[in-house]
């Protein structure tokens, strides 16, 4: 919300007086900059090879492939971005209109001129030597397999169109633009989730639905895409009508921000406070999670099992990073300890420890060893500065991998060959969990996820949890208030380590083997991205982060829904991490307290603004200035 917005929201007054600007009365330097950024971005995407390698994956049957989509989304975003304006206190706000559309169109046009240059460049020069994707295939895609002229002329036009759409979002008002975004996302989502939806319909024996939705070459069919879009519009309109209806106590969620953003408990309608409703929601969710895997096919179950493994890891790291605020970059070490101790103890293929013990016994050993590893890694680093600690834990993570690989310890860990023949999990003679039965693995993972969620949830509200959060906010103050910071931080390491070892233990039974290269540093980084993306210190956030990221993009060694992204996964994870830190460092679903720590300056500003507004009001009414405090 802009500052003026805040002031007017606080005072309940209307927006500042506004006037219209002419179509070409633009902020030209800003447009040129946006165009240059877009041009660079588009040329980078084109040369990264995404259009070529995603070209086969159709999203909407004959018209749109993932490859073309990779060149379409950026103009849309930039078109929206050039129209963003910060309205300052005391300045007039401009009425949105055709000017925003024009700005988006101009930026898109200028930006996609970069692709025009690229087309001309590829036709005339050959620098394929350093740039591997400077290729005829890319040229074919950029020219729509027609002629150079089409290729050079159509891209600026496309850019102008999509940019205008992005800029038009400002004009259209929030409801229309939100509906548009929802429609685009739901069509995209339905197309991406193709394999899961096909799987589900097969499970419920309604294959007709997926046959109708998806064409023979994958991808939504034309009518299906329109139907999905229409459904999305219907749902959005229905929701808006429901929100405006008297059934919701006459309140609207949007509109005057100050009334609802604060969200005090009494402001909510009574039925939302009823505990039974929450309990019912919980029971329904759990039931769905338990029943659903029965109807899912191998592929989806496998995918969900991988997601579950990362939920476990992310919950463990969340305790260390999210709750205690210790940036541990070597978290993969605990994953490795879990995986390797189970493999060494249960597999007949392991060089040492001949009496093989069942998985559950090995799990206890793994937990114990991981806890010890947590102590051993935690103790030396605990007194270090936060950033030194990060690098040293990274060093520990790398040392463990180097040791697993080494000849020196190959008597126990078998070096680069790894340990194979890890047997499945015998669940008390009732069932066996093996890698080739993803459903059984999924259930095992779900059980451990439930344990991890319960443990994290209970710990968060416990004495130690509060101690962690105090340390995260300010270690010195926490110590002054009597928190034993050293043992609290060690506890965080140990708890996180044990949760991480669960995941390792399941992984080695699932895959049936462990190799040192499965425990590279990149695993730590991906888990960190999941935690930060989802929302540090927030359990639902972390779970959502794992589902979205690992489900769609996949883990470092595990494929996700968009298997085409395999090569670009880490690129996207890196960009996502930077973007999250710059734009929304509290994550997708923020932890309230954590968000407050991060935005303390803005909040202070709000408090100041509110105080100013109150003082003004009090002055205008001629009353006691103190009485106007909010």
């Amino acid at each position: 919300m802009t500052v003026t917005g805040k002031i007017s929201a606080i005072r309940g007054a209307g927006p500042a007086p506004a006037h219209r600007r002419r179509l070409l009365d633009q902020d030209w330097p800003r447009l040129l900059r946006a165009g240059a950024v877009l041009a660079l971005g588009q040329v980078f995407i084109a040369l990264s090879g995404m259009p070529v390698s995603f070209d086969r994956r159709l999203l909407i049957d004959p018209v749109l492939s993932l490859g073309y989509l990779s060149l379409l989304w950026l103009p849309l975003v930039v078109g929206y971005w050039v129209g963003r304006e910060q309205v300052l206190e005391g300045m007039a706000a401009y009425t949105r209109g055709g000017r925003d559309v024009a700005a988006g169109a101009i930026a898109g046009l200028l930006g996609n001129a970069g692709l025009t240059l690229l087309v001309l460049g590829i036709t005339h020069f050959d620098i394929r030597d350093p740039l591997v994707n400077w290729s005829p295939q890319l040229l074919d895609i950029l020219e729509f397999e027609e002629s150079v002229w089409l290729g050079t002329l159509i891209w600026p036009a496309i850019g102008a169109g999509t940019g205008a759409l992005g800029g038009g979002m400002h004009w259209a008002g929030s409801r229309t633009s939100r509906t548009t975004v929802t429609v685009l996302l739901s069509v995209f989502g339905t197309a991406v989730l193709e394999s899961v939806i096909t799987d589900l319909t097969q499970g419920f024996h309604v294959e007709a639905v997926s046959d109708w939705l998806y064409g023979p070459k994958r991808g939504l069919t034309y009518p299906a895409a329109i139907a999905v879009a229409a459904t999305a519009v219907g749902v959005m309109t229905g929701l808006a009508a429901y929100r405006a209806s008297p059934a919701r106590d006459g309140r609207t969620t949007r509109g005057n921000g100050a009334a609802t953003v604060g969200g005090s408990e009494s402001a909510r309608p009574a039925w939302r406070r009823m505990p039974t409703r929450r309990a019912m929601n919980l029971v329904l969710t759990v039931a769905a999670i338990v029943v659903l895997p029965l109807f899912l096919g191998r592929l989806t179950n496998e995918l969900l099992a991988n997601v579950g493994l990362f939920i476990l890891l992310a919950l463990g790291l969340n305790i260390i990073v999210g709750l205690a605020g210790i940036l541990d970059l070597g978290y993969v070490a605990f994953f490795a300890v879990g995986g390797y101790s189970v493999a060494v103890l249960t597999s007949p293929g392991s060089p040492r420890f001949d009496p093989e013990i069942p998985w559950f016994g090995a799990l206890f050993a793994a937990m114990l060893l991981a806890g010890l590893a947590g102590l051993f890694i935690g103790a030396p680093v605990i007194r270090m500065r936060g950033d030194y600690l990060a690098i040293v834990t990274l060093g520990f993570g790398e040392i463990i991998r180097v040791l697993l690989l080494s000849d020196w310890l190959s008597g126990t860990f078998n070096g680069a060959q790894g340990i194979t023949n890890v047997p499945g999990v015998e669940v008390f003679g009732l069932a066996t969990v093996r890698g080739f039965e993803p459903r059984s693995v999924l259930y095992l993972v779900l059980v451990f996820c439930a344990i991890a969620v319960y443990v994290s949830w209970r710990l968060e509200n416990s004495r130690i949890g509060r101690a962690w959060m105090a340390i995260r906010e300010d270690e010195n103050v926490a110590e002054a208030m009597g928190v034993d910071t050293v043992s609290a931080k060690l506890m965080a390491f140990v708890t996180g380590a044990v949760l991480g070892s669960f995941s390792g233990a399941i992984l080695s039974a699932k895959v049936g083997s462990v190799f040192p290269h499965s425990f590279a540093i990149i695993v730590s980084i991906v888990i960190l991205v999941v935690v930060i993306f989802g929302g540090m210190g927030n359990i639902p956030g972390v779970i959502a982060g794992a589902v979205v990221l690992i489900g769609i993009l996949g883990g470092p060694n595990q494929p996700g829904l968009l298997q085409e992204f395999a090569e670009y996964k880490i690129l996207i994870y890196g960009a996502l991490l930077v973007w999250m830190m710059l734009q929304r460092s509290e994550g997708l679903i923020p932890n309230m307290r954590r968000a407050r720590e991060l935005h303390i300056d803005e909040m202070n500003q709000d408090v100041w603004l509110r105080a100013q507004a109150a003082a003004d009001d009090a002055h205008n009414e001629g009353g006691n200035p103190r009485g106007g405090r909010l």
Partner: protein
């Protein structure tokens, strides 16, 4: 840390034990090694590892020179970490990738020059050109990185730019992967006078060249920081940014320049990597980057001379450590543990002397 009045907890005892054990291990390894040199059959030499073979003088010298050459390279990268830490107080994790970009630029341009036939005929000129190009590319990379990723985060808690820089690091690494492909890029062959062992001290010419280039870069940096107006401003900002800005120094400009100079040093280091190892791939920057950071910490972060000394220490330690300490202690295949040794040096230094060997130079509010 001024926690003199604090009671000693279990963790403190554990740390003391850890310090003593690690130092004792190093001492035992070195003693056993010395015993082998004196007489390979004495009982102390055979105590831990009866099969250990001591090094000949020539091998020893070779290892030291290799270590010094690599260490000089780490030192040049470490300067970038150290300067940025001194000015902004955060670890620019992506600095290692800037170095990799430099090595990549070097590989591409030197191959182009070799194709055109200039590499053989006028090597020194070509090398100067390659270094200059790499410096330019790395400087641009570092400056863009600062502008896009770090400037918006000024004043945030210092873990936030650190996490961002991890993202930048993996982003840059994979940019190079997707743009240039996953194949190993190799440097063209060096002229004979560099690869042959010289009669003078039996040292490979390329290593002498590496040391010379590093020394030259170091002198240039010393001149810039100590003798020019910009350097004075950099030191002022590192001392106290707020007061520096009150004295009329444009802090943002100085920060950009700091990144630029760090990037330039990384660019030089990238070419040195090319001369030493003759091949580069998108993941090349990661380990040298972390080792260079370790060098900066070992020498005392914020201390430029210390960074170079730290680099040399880490280089020599990872070159000699496996054979002088691990092998006499009975570790088989010790050379595989080189990377682990480098990290172990970092951990031991931080345990024993957290401010680095030569002491850190940081603004007052960064000292904790």
């Amino acid at each position: 840390m001024h926690k003199t009045t604090k009671q000693r907890t279990n963790v403190d005892w554990f740390l003391t034990v850890l310090r003593v054990t690690s130092l004792a291990m190093i001492a035992a390894g070195l003693l056993a090694f010395a015993a082998q040199i004196i007489d390979s059959n004495n009982p102390f030499a055979r105590w831990a590892n009866p099969d250990a073979i001591s090094l000949t003088g020539e091998q020893f010298q070779g290892l030291v020179v290799t270590g010094l050459a690599q260490g000089a390279m780490y030192g040049l990268i470490a300067l970038g970490y150290s300067m940025v830490y001194g000015v902004l107080g955060f670890i620019n994790f992506a600095h290692g990738e800037v170095f990799m970009v430099g090595a990549m630029t070097g590989a591409i341009t030197s191959n182009k020059l070799a194709e055109a036939g200039y590499w053989e005929s006028s090597f020194v000129l070509c090398l100067m050109l390659v270094v200059a190009l790499s410096v330019v590319v790395c400087t641009i990379t570092a400056v863009i990185m600062e502008r896009v990723a770090y400037r918006p985060l000024r004043g945030k808690p210092r873990l936030i730019p650190l996490i961002t820089s991890i993202g930048v690091s993996f982003f840059l690494q994979n940019c190079v992967l997707v743009l240039l492909g996953s194949t190993v890029k190799s440097y063209p062959d060096l002229p004979n006078w560099l690869t042959d062992k010289r009669t003078f001290l039996e040292i490979q010419g390329s290593k002498v060249l590496v040391l010379a280039v590093a020394a030259l870069a170091m002198v240039g940096l010393w001149y810039l920081v100590e003798k020019t107006k910009t350097g004075q401003a950099m030191r002022a900002v590192a001392e106290d940014a707020e007061i520096a800005s009150l004295m009329g120094i444009d802090v943002n400009r100085i920060i950009v320049k700091t990144f630029a100079v760090g990037g330039a040093m990384a660019g030089v280091a990238g070419i040195l990597w090319g001369l030493l190892f003759r091949s580069v791939i998108h993941t090349t920057g990661f380990l040298p980057g972390i080792k260079a950071f370790s060098s900066a910490v070992v020498g005392g972060i914020g201390n430029l001379g210390g960074s170079m000394a730290g680099g040399l220490t880490i280089g020599v330690a990872e070159s000699l450590g496996p054979l002088m300490i691990l092998e006499p202690l009975g570790v088989s295949g010790p050379s595989q543990l080189r990377d682990a040794v480098a990290f172990a040096v970092l951990i031991i230094v931080l345990l024993v002397r957290p401010s680095g060997i030569f002491g850190e130079r940081l603004p007052s509010e960064e000292r904790t």
